[in-house]
């Protein structure tokens, strides 16, 4: 989400304990657009598998609700601990959690309950305050509370004990990865200061998995929150309804500060014509369902229109990882969008008559509806700042 020029890039990566289908760690985040606020929770349920998942899901959902409703974190924690179902074997109801409440892209408040302490990178450490919470089964418990104003370049790394305790008992790290997590995160930032939250979270999780010899001994979860300047992408798709505006559309893309994308053969031809550039189809990879991409000077990605965008919408809904898919136009576009913060669609509304032919073997969506759906998903599910302008 974008706040006063500072973009908060949130991403999360997880692998379940080896042999478990469900993860016992749950990460939830919600954007409260009206209040310009972002709330995230990482909860780690007692044990692993479904039972832990239920505990963690309950904890995370409650925390998200209470904090969003401005209920004091101390009170919220009491309610959560009083509500959790009690494990029949261990006689306790239990889930550790970390709650992050970020207002206006900079006012950060964090409540921690028995999760490994968060890492704050590129910034001096923040003094934590202790809060006491009375619980029925567990006596008085301590929460750690921190509050600070974030600036561009700051990063928060929040993870479950599956990360910090990975590798425990091995020769290299008999006590687990522990403080090594911090060192590794610093190394990754030194290597690439611009690394996205997504990549940073993935690299940390992969490393923890490797520490466990690729058989995770606990759920391994890591969320990264980066405060940075927004990465911007503009996507042109469809010719304007009024042909006189072709040049205007092409210039918008030419003068854009950020990544530039064209979706649609007609649109690509339009831009090539107006800017005097060449468009060349890239025949190196042919996908049976998604038409190939093209190359144009000064444009980061040129794809076909409707089929590619339909597939993109599906991939976004599925939460697909581009790293695990064969690269076609839709996958390339997905990768670019996941690495962007602000995404602007410029949609020409001229109807492509040939798409209306009832003899076509597939139904082709109306571009406008398709883009509206993509924009909604990007905003709600991926916490992007996506918008659309029709021409």
């Amino acid at each position: 989400m974008l706040n006063g020029g500072c973009f908060v890039d949130v991403d999360f990566c997880q692998v379940s304990k080896h042999g478990q289908h469900a993860a016992g760690d749950v990460f939830l985040s919600r954007k409260l657009a009206a209040e310009d606020r972002l709330v995230c929770v990482l909860a780690d349920g007692l044990g692993s598998g479904i039972k832990a998942n239920v505990l963690a899901t309950m904890t995370a959902s409650m925390a998200l609700k209470y904090v969003s409703a401005d209920i004091d974190p101390q009170r919220a924690s009491e309610i959560i601990m009083a509500t959790l179902p009690v494990c029949s074997q261990r006689r306790i109801g239990y889930s550790t959690f970390t709650i992050l409440d970020i207002g206006h892209g900079q006012d950060v408040r964090i409540v921690e309950y028995e999760n490994p302490p968060y890492l704050l990178l590129n910034r001096h450490p923040v003094q934590k305050r202790e809060l006491s919470v009375r619980t029925a089964q567990l006596g008085v418990r301590q929460l750690a509370f921190s509050e600070f104003e974030a600036t561009i370049g700051n990063r928060l790394v929040v993870f479950s004990d599956g990360v910090s305790q990975s590798g425990m008992g091995s020769r290299d790290m008999p006590l687990g990865w522990g403080a090594g997590v911090n060192g590794f995160a610093h190394d990754l930032l030194a290597e690439n200061g611009e690394i996205s939250s997504r990549q940073l979270a993935r690299r940390l999780v992969k490393r923890a998995q490797q520490n466990d010899n690729w058989k995770a001994r606990d759920d391994i979860s890591c969320a990264v929150i980066s405060f940075r300047r927004p990465r911007r992408t503009m996507i042109l798709t469809g010719p304007p309804i009024n042909q006189e505006r072709d040049i205007e559309m092409a210039m918008l893309l030419r003068d854009y500060q950020g990544s530039r994308v064209i979706c649609g053969g007609t649109t690509a031809n339009l831009v090539a014509r107006e800017l005097g550039r060449k468009v060349k189809l890239d025949m190196t990879a042919i996908d049976p369902e998604i038409p190939p991409t093209s190359l144009m000077d000064g444009i980061d990605l040129v794809t076909e229109g409707t089929l590619t965008l339909s597939r993109l919408a599906t991939l976004l809904d599925q939460g697909a990882s581009p790293e695990q898919l064969q690269a076609n136009g839709a996958v390339k576009l997905l990768r670019l969008l996941l690495e962007s913060d602000c995404i602007e669609f410029i949609v020409g509304t001229r109807i492509n008559e040939s798409h209306q032919d009832p003899n076509l073997p597939v139904e082709l969506d109306i571009r406008r509806n398709l883009i509206k759906r993509i924009v909604r998903t990007l905003n709600e599910k991926y916490l992007k700042e996506a918008n659309v302008k029709f021409m």
């Binding site: 649609g264 025949m283 076909e304 492509n352 008559e353």
Partner: protein, 86 residues
């Protein structure tokens, strides 16, 4: 001997009507013709927008528009152009 240029449209309509399989036309040609063609794709040939050029998928062989293109139709057109420019 100049090459025979085959441009296959890879726009949405042509693609859903089977343009991607037309890329295999080279394999359907006898050796002496296969070496004479230069197969390329186009992001959109802009021929589908009105009916005057016929129906998709479209291919251009040395500038000649082939509508409702199939591999046999393309082979035929390539033969014709090969004979004309031999």
């Amino acid at each position: 001997m100049s090459k025979i240029k085959v441009e296959i449209c890879m726009g949405t309509t042509c693609y859903v009507l089977g343009a991607s399989s037309l890329l295999q036309v080279q394999e359907a040609l006898p050796a002496e013709l296969a070496s004479r063609v230069e197969i390329d794709g186009a992001s959109c040939l802009e021929l589908c927008k009105n009916g005057q050029f016929g129906k998709a998928p479209f291919v251009r062989v040395n500038g000649e528009t082939i509508s409702e293109a199939t591999i046999p139709k393309l082979v035929q057109a390539i033969r014709r152009h090969a004979a004309a420019t031999a």
